[in-house]
Amino acid sequence: MKSRTLIAAAVLAAMGLGTTGGAGAKDKKDGDSASVKAARDFDKNPFPSTYRAYPSHPTLITGVTVFDGKGAQIDNAAVLLRDGKIAAIGGALADMDVPSDAVRIDGTGKFITPGIIDVHSHLGVYPSPAVQGHSDGNEMTSPTTPEVWAEHSVWPHDPGFSRALANGGVTSLEILPGSGNLIGGRSVVLKNVYSRTVQGMKFPGAPYGLKMACGENPKRVYGERNQMPSTRMGNFAVDRATWIKAKEYRAKRDAGKLEERSLAMETLAGVLDGDIRVQNHCYRADEMAQVLDMAKEAGYKVSAFHHAVEAYKIGDLLKAGDVCSAVWADWWGFKMEAYDAVPENAGLLYKAGACVIIHSDDENGIQRLNQEAAKAQGSARRAGIEIPDGEVIRWITFNAAKAIGIEKMTGSIEAGKMGDVVLWNGNPLSTYSRPEKVWIDGALLYDALDPKRRPVSDFELGQPGEGDVK
């Protein structure tokens, strides 16, 4: 759609993700050698999104309860979707310019949320079926692999995408490399829309993320090979040495002295430039506190700690550092660094004023992020921390969008934002509720009431259960 293209271009420009150039472009000198130019003026977006919003019909939902994703609950509201956007939200229909041919949906007893967003998914890179031929999430051949990009591993026919859509109302998701490496590679942000190509799923204008990991996984993977890192101090040493190199690379780049390109260093320099967001797998509080110091030393910002099972121990530090914690509701005990998990983690972080996200890291959990958030809300309540429903919905919508860097485009029900919307058949924080309809950029891509309005992956065609409710 034309408007989509224009917006995407504008967003790209705003984020410094234009097709060429970069921080070094302003230093461009005509006398630079060809190799210097190549290292500096490379294409920053060589695999551009080809996603376009699918056709939509103006749609008006009335009498519905809205959780707007930014903390508010609006009862008996009307929401108008038009031209792929959220056109209007409010109580008074008179204020809305409702097209005469709009589809009208009675939302009485139903709820609207922004499309659910998962900040931590491995769909596509660890797809179903989980066979070795599909195991593409961890490039465990070196402890730092910033040069790899998750999008080159995504299998766009993972059946998991459809379950996340139909059962979880997930409309956007960040696909991360695994945590076997200290620096695992770039993430890719997707619209949850099947396509023949990964480019056809890529969220237009979303910034890249960089997956990093603390703790047990990297030191185990490489320690077992008698290779560095085999300890947590080894983890930090390798990380810091890598950032020192990245800073040198960036300084050279800015001085116009680079002689060759480095995929690895381009990514790390992108982090130091502030264009690429660090998504850091880290369980223990003490390690997170040290990562914050390391980030300060290297000159980057951690966008979110993922898993963060001990984040509740340092909610004050995380608030001060403006770092989100992307947590599970209640996973616990499966490894040593998860031993101090508590089901009140999210609630205690909320109480400390820190940014909370509920993430999945799981092809099943992504189907129930709403319920995971509800569990955390219930555990908090029993610990004396009352959290309004609207704030809890923020954990799986706006806050996730913020950590990914797409919050200006999606993640809340606000006029002008992408028409990424879920209509639930009851309060989404009830276990008994499910998505009834899911729109992505205004296009109805799941409808529980229409057997054909659900995606069936290539893999499932002609197999037992094709097109089943799942």
Binding site: W332, G333, G378, T431, R434
Partner: protein, 430 residues
């Protein structure tokens, strides 16, 4: 549990035990869930005496002088029953020394008796208890053979006697896992299984006699399978694919006394008529809806509902994932009843599928799993609808003994209610 009272004094000498005598009591004013598939009863009463349920219902009188627990505004249910678990075998999954769930290098398999390894003080027991679980079958998994060994049924009480029933069932892997363990093919798995059952029959026929020269099982393993072939011990068979379910059901043609229980059964809905006709119960993995393996291509969340509708005796069993909240799985089955074309369970049946249902499949429905008279005094009081994700446990009793809700997690929560250090380091706050 029998023997609990005489052991209570001994328990006091153990550091972790807080065992107390079962208190006779009446829980009043609560919304009572019997757990047998009947509808909840408002403003009901549950009477516990001698550690057992005496009566539960709407117009049950409170015996004179009996202490009462007021559950006004609360839900009162039987304790939940986990049909397949590793509770008591594991402290931390990835810490090998703390994990007894996979005796992969043991010289025996079918003979292994998991009850010997149960640690009632393991945190996973305490944490599952706070999620409302009072009984669990502990399944032996992860040997180097298709037979996992003999599972135990335990209670989750905070006392040193966890075992309700040792050697309660035998566990066998068929399907993809069985194929791998038996030599790389389902063909091998079925051959190994049939041979083992045949060797067991031979031992049963001549217990003291000499054995054939070409036996494959150790005597102990073969002898351990005698209760299986004679129908005294259930055989839990893990299979997912519809074809594997049918193959497993076919075992009864040659071994008619087998008491089969199908575990997993992601494609059970595609073999529902066969399961129902055979009268073989299923401990289903709920909510599997992905083709995680080729043997689960037909997986759908509607599996349990469809099997139940076809007349299969189905309870929830093998839970995947890292969360202890089994009520969430049951609640999702209720959600499915509100979705067009989907199949789920009514609330009443869904709750039964995590209480009396698994107890009955274990063959212990007369001992626990519901609040019907004579069952163990395993009672949970909830702050709301127990199948709602937001609800949680307020009080819990096992065999009529009130249980602590405190555990490693709750202590951490309290210590870090305010994260910053106080006048002394956090380590002094306990």
């Amino acid at each position: 549990m029998r023997g609990r009272i005489t052991l209570a004094a001994l328990a006091l000498t153990l550091p972790f035990a807080q065992a107390a005598l079962a208190q006779d009591m009446a829980v009043i004013h609560g919304r009572i869930v019997i757990g047998d598939g009947t509808a909840p009863i408002d403003n009901g009463t549950v009477v516990i005496r001698g550690g057992k349920v005496v009566a539960a219902g709407a117009s049950v009188p409170v015996p004179a002088g009996m202490p009462v627990v007021d559950a006004a505004g609360k839900w009162v249910t039987p304790g939940l029953v986990l049909a397949i678990s590793d509770l008591g075998l594991v402290d931390v999954g990835s810490v090998e020394q703390s994990n007894d769930s996979a005796p992969a290098k043991a010289p025996f398999n079918a003979a292994l008796d998991i009850s010997a390894a149960i640690n009632p003080a393991a945190q996973p027991i305490a944490i599952s208890r706070t999620a409302g679980v009072t009984r669990a079958a502990v399944a032996p998994l992860g040997t180097n053979a298709i037979f996992g060994g003999q599972g135990a049924v335990i209670d989750l009480g905070s006392d040193p006697r966890p075992v309700t029933a040792a050697r309660a069932f035998q566990y066998v892997e068929l399907g993809e896992d069985g194929a791998r363990l038996a030599g790389g093919s389902r063909v091998a798995a079925y051959a190994v299984l049939r041979n083992a059952l045949t060797e067991a029959k031979e031992i049963a026929a001549t217990p003291a006699g000499s054995r054939r020269a070409d036996v494959l099982l150790t005597r102990r393993d073969a002898a351990a399978l005698v209760p299986v072939v004679t129908g005294r011990q259930p055989l839990y068979v893990h299979v997912e694919r519809a074809a594997d379910i049918r193959m497993a059901l076919g075992l009864k043609d040659d071994f008619p006394l087998l008491r089969l229980v199908i575990v997993g059964a992601s494609e059970g809905w595609l073999a529902a008529a066969d399961l129902a006709a055979a009268g073989v119960p299923v401990l289903a993995t709920p909510l599997n809806d992905l083709p995680a393996r080729f043997e689960q291509i037909g997986a759908t969340q509607s599996n349990v509902g469809r099997m139940a509708a076809a007349g299969v005796k189905v309870a929830l069993g093998a839970y995947g994932g890292m969360s202890p909240v089994v009520t969430q799985y049951a609640g999702n089955l209720v959600a499915l009843t509100r979705l067009p074309r989907a199949s789920g369970l009514t609330w009443d049946k869904a709750f039964a599928a995590i209480s009396s249902g698994p107890a009955e499949v274990m063959g212990m429905g007369d001992r626990f799993g519901s609040l019907r008279p004579g069952r163990a005094g395993d009672v949970v009081i909830w702050d709301g609808d127990p199948l709602e994700a937001r609800s949680g446990v307020v009080k819990i009793y096992i065999d009529g003994v009130e249980q602590p809700l405190s555990n490693h997690q709750s202590r951490l929560r309290d210590r870090y209610a305010v994260p910053s250090e106080g006048a002394l380091p956090k380590a002094y706050d306990w």
